[in-house]
């Protein structure tokens, strides 16, 4: 009730705020302007409180809420109870809605809603938050548990939840979703500004992109920062989850998240190239407006069940609502700018073709190149569906498709980037020379493959010519472009930074250099670590016995430098110490519920105080009370319990079942198999959720111990026996050692992978993220540091921002 009230309130205030904003925009007046910001604030506050309330219900495992019941269980520790909040669609959307409303409120507070343009932008942003809130009223995260148990009496509350998806029980998964949704929420503002720009242009008001360029840049950079962090965290998670094929496997869901990221990267470059009405007047705002459409596209794919993959742990009605939102954002984000470009865009100053090599042209090439890279991913997700729809034939999209197309495009982008950086400080002639040299080196390197492992992929004669051609190229071809980028970026940084008097400009250039070098190193480490992962296995058949020994034998792993020693063997279950009170009622509770549970199946427990055996039934008294547990069944009249035993059983509560027996108010009538001692309960009330087995290992490399830890697997008994592996990873300087163990009945079957360059890869993502943080903060034109300090000095100065040269 509380939850629904909060959501209704948020929808209402959001709707009123949106309508007032659009009214104010259309009529050009400020009639209700003073009410709007508090209304937006209220919407945000109500959504945040709703999110907090849902989290609270999770923490206290309030199973009157069906969503809580579906996504957690008593045995789950506090951290993962909290993360259960966004395990399903409804909770995720609530998180997204809250964050969007907070962003809207923040923007309204800082920028105000004085101008008509600001009203339009705010109207769109608040409108989106309101749409989310309304979606939640239809598919609520506060649905009453009665919806799950229509056959039960009113007021029925299950004693335990169904559990959380095992894949989500992971520290990375605890922070990946919130960070991603922050990134998504931040993208709402650029979307609104981009759309408002076109509305304003079409209405003849001249567009707003130039005035808002500072805001746009900051919102885009911030959301890029969060989105990148989210992808990095997601990859680290998938690295540890077996079956997801390492940090990246082109699973539809991974691809779907990569698409907005690539596009956002292209948009950032496009916005850099925006020069009021002369250059990029259409493209930059259009791309800005499209980003959110792609986010929704990605989410619709993940959540609507168009592609069923490991991520589709929650697909239901919200899929349709997302598809609708997708249609609307696509029309506003892509249709509107394209229509404008076709019909209204004034012809570029005629006759002047200009030089081919110039900074705007190179940036344009970068934008298009990154766009092309994004297209490969979009197309890979789209064409199988298209193909099935058109021809009825199902085709396969493998990582060969993604890798073989993305690789040459990526090489082209890197070479362009190197050329741009070089051209910026060295001028045309020298830059062209070095470009030719590095391009030639790239082509030559593509032909040099010392062994087959250096080739990009295994291809067979049945593969298409293009795939065979690229697949046979050597990964060495990546090194010249990466070296080119690294050298030219560093050279440019050294040229620009020391001479500048402006501290913030220096910071920004450091940040730019970090981002681009970080990216180049990321690319090369990802490629090399994939190609040069080595794998070997060994079986330790007496793992259980060896774990007991003081001096356990060390097993060499064939065809590798590794050896392993088993020093621990564990079989365990969770909850480790199940409490019968979590699943069954005491006699007091049965008495208290009285008639309301008459003739319903209920689990009960108690200590046996008397046994009364009849010809076709046995009844046992629980806790010296008038509540008895009865076993009825022909030939099954005896039960294997004795007085003093703690028993638990599931059966139908029958009041006045034996009116002749004075001390018997109720009998819980159970089938023989449904009664047992608490220590070994019948299956219906067995609380074992997880059965795990693991070995403790010491891993040796070249004779020296490099690390020890445990590896094994866990089986989730009540979730389709889903199996999750717990791997042991040792992070070495040059390579990771990754141990997978299948532990069963005393035997451990171990697979050891040596994955090179993982630490360099991790470091490169840190450099990438830090670089963007520095740029976001210290950009002399649009940095947060400047925006904030200026804000305190002179209000409204942001209106006077001018695009800078860089």
């Amino acid at each position: 009730m509380i939850g629904t009230a909060l959501l209704s309130g948020a929808t209402l205030t959001g709707l009123v705020a949106t309508l007032l904003l659009f009214r104010g925009y259309l009529r050009r007046d400020d009639a209700y302007a003073t009410a709007v910001v508090p209304l937006i604030g209220t919407t945000g506050a109500l959504l945040v409180v709703a999110l907090g309330y849902l989290t609270y219900q999770f923490v206290v495992t309030d199973y009157t809420n069906a969503y809580v019941w579906n996504n957690t269980a008593n045995y789950i520790p506090l951290l993962y109870r909290v993360t259960g909040v966004y395990a399903g669609n409804e909770g995720s959307i609530l998180l997204w809605a809250s964050l969007t409303a907070v962003v809207a409120f923040w923007a309204a507070r800082r920028r105000g809603i004085g101008s008509p343009d600001a009203k339009l932008v705010q109207g769109l942003t608040v409108g989106i938050a309101t749409y989310f809130a309304a979606m939640l009223l239809v598919d609520s995260p506060f649905t009453d548990i009665a919806a799950e148990f229509p056959e039960m009496n009113e007021g029925y509350v299950p004693l335990d939840g169904t559990g959380l998806n095992p894949l989500l029980i992971d520290p990375y998964m605890a922070i990946h979703p919130p960070i991603m949704f922050i990134g998504y929420a931040l993208m709402t503002m650029p979307f609104a500004i981009g759309v408002a720009h076109f509305v304003s242009t079409i209405r003849g008001d001249g567009g707003i992109f130039g005035d808002w360029i500072g805001s746009i840049t900051r919102w885009l950079r911030a959301s890029w920062l969060f989105l990148t962090a989210a992808i990095v965290l997601g990859s680290l998670w998938s690295y540890r989850v077996l079956g997801w094929g390492g940090i990246w496997a082109w699973d539809p869901v991974e691809t779907a998240v990569l698409i907005p990221w690539i596009f956002l990267t292209a948009t950032l470059h496009a916005v850099m190239n925006y020069r009021s009405r002369s250059t990029y007047a259409t493209l930059a705002p259009a791309m800005t407006a499209t980003t959110l459409a792609l986010v929704v596209y990605a989410t619709a794919i993940v959540r609507s069940g168009v592609f069923r993959s490991v991520h589709s742990f929650a697909d239901d009605g919200i899929g349709f609502a997302l598809l609708l939102l997708l249609a609307v954002t696509t029309i506003l984000g892509i249709g509107l700018p394209l229509g404008y470009w076709l019909l209204r865009e004034p012809d570029a100053s005629s006759g002047e073709s200009g030089p081919w090599i110039s900074r705007p042209n190179l940036l344009h090439l970068a934008v298009l190149g990154i766009g092309l890279l994004g297209f490969v991913s979009v197309w890979g997700l789209t064409f199988p569906v298209l193909n099935t729809y058109i021809t009825g034939m199902e085709v396969e999209v493998t990582d060969t498709y993604y890798n073989m197309w993305s690789y040459p495009i990526l090489l082209g982008i890197l070479l362009t980037l190197g050329f741009y950086m070089d051209y910026d400080v060295e001028g045309r002639r020298r830059a062209l020379l070095s470009l030719s040299a590095f391009t030639a080196a790239t082509l030559v390197a593509a032909l040099i493959a010392p062994t087959e492992a250096w080739m990009l992929t295994d291809t067979g004669p049945n593969d298409a010519l293009f795939y065979r051609l690229i697949g046979d190229a050597s990964v060495l071809s990546l090194l010249p472009p990466v070296a080119y980028v690294t050298l030219t970026v560093l050279k440019r940084a050294l040229e620009l930074i020391p001479g500048s008097p402006n501290r913030h400009y220096q910071f920004k250039q450091v940040g730019i250099a970090m981002i681009h070098v970080g990216f180049a190193i990321l690319v090369v480490t990802v490629a090399l670590s994939y190609l040069f992962t080595a794998q070997s296995s060994v079986i330790v058949s007496d793992a259980r016995q060896e774990a007991e020994l003081n001096d356990a034998p060390v097993h060499d792993v064939p065809d590798s430098a590794y050896a392993v020693q088993v020093d621990d063997y564990r079989e365990y279950q969770r909850p480790a110490d199940p409490d019968v009170r979590d699943v069954a009622l005491s006699v007091e509770e049965v008495t208290a519920r009285g008639e309301s549970i008459h003739e319903t199946a209920q689990p009960v427990y108690g200590t046996v105080t008397e046994i009364n055996q009849g010809p076709e039934a046995t009844i046992v008294q629980l806790d010296d009370s008038p509540i008895w547990l009865g076993v009825v069944g022909e030939g099954q009249e005896s039960v294997d319990v004795s007085e003093g035993d703690q028993v638990v059983g599931v059966g139908f509560v029958m009041w006045d079942y034996l009116p002749d027996m004075s001390r018997t108010d109720a009998v819980v009538v159970a089938e023989p198999g449904n009664v047992g001692p608490v220590t070994n309960p019948p299956e219906a009330v067995d609380q074992t959720r997880v059965e795990g087995s693991a070995v403790g290992l010491t891993v040796y490399e070249g004779g020296d111990p490099i690390g020890s830890g445990s590896a094994g697997q866990e089986q989730y008994r009540q979730q389709g026996d889903m199996e999750v592996r717990d791997v042991f990873v040792d992070r070495g300087l040059a390579h990771d050692t990754y141990v997978i163990a299948a532990v069963d009945d005393g035997t451990a079957s171990l697979t050891i992978r040596q994955i090179p360059l993982m630490n360099l890869m991790r470091a490169s993502t840190v450099v990438l993220l830090t670089g963007m943080l520095v740029v976001l903060l210290f950009d002399p034109a649009y940095g947060l540091a400047r925006a904030w300090s200026r804000r305190t000095d002179q209000p409204n100065a942001a209106e006077a921002e001018t695009p800078s040269d860089d």
Partner: protein, 157 residues
């Protein structure tokens, strides 16, 4: 035409080319009544497969797969191109169930044999009785051993 427009048109054409080429080059997984895995051809019609099995007196091997499962690709690259595997597979009526295919027959099989994730194999009699199952990926050697086990089970039945 400014250089910018020429570059734009060139890259648009490239994108269209990539789209067209890749769509045609993508390996076909299925047509109306078959799916293809490695060098093997599997039926997709559940009832048809059961009837064939009945009349030819063969067990049915059900393969639960999806288009996005990496272990299924491993099967395609290893087991399903191996002649020894082919010899064993000839003893079965092959039936492939795409877990993403929403048809009621597929759902039923999926539930009956508890196939929650790809890849899984279940060898069954024409009546649907389970002979053997493989949950997840098995290396080619053990894959053959599993098939042998199912065939022995079938002979002894």
């Amino acid at each position: 035409m400014t250089p910018k427009k020429i570059i734009t048109v060139a890259l648009l054409v490239t994108a269209l080319g990539i789209g067209y080429y890749s769509m045609n080059a993508a390996p076909v997984l299925s047509d109306e009544s078959h799916t293809y895995h490695g060098d093997t051809t599997w039926g997709t019609d559940v009832e048809g497969a059961m009837e064939t099995a009945e009349s030819e007196d063969k067990p049915v091997l059900v393969y639960f797969w999806t288009t996005w499962c990496t272990y299924c690709e491993d099967y395609n690259d290893n087991a399903y191109v191996d002649p020894d595997v082919h010899d064993r597979l000839d003893e079965f009526v092959l039936l492939a169930v795409n877990l993403d295919d929403g048809s009621p027959e597929a759902k039923q099989l999926q539930q009956r044999y508890n196939a929650n994730y790809p890849p899984q194999h279940a060898a069954i009699t024409p009546d649907g009785e389970l002979l053997m199952e493989i949950n997840g990926y098995a290396e080619t050697d053990s894959f053959i051993a599993y098939l042998e086990e199912a065939l022995t089970e079938w002979e002894n039945r």
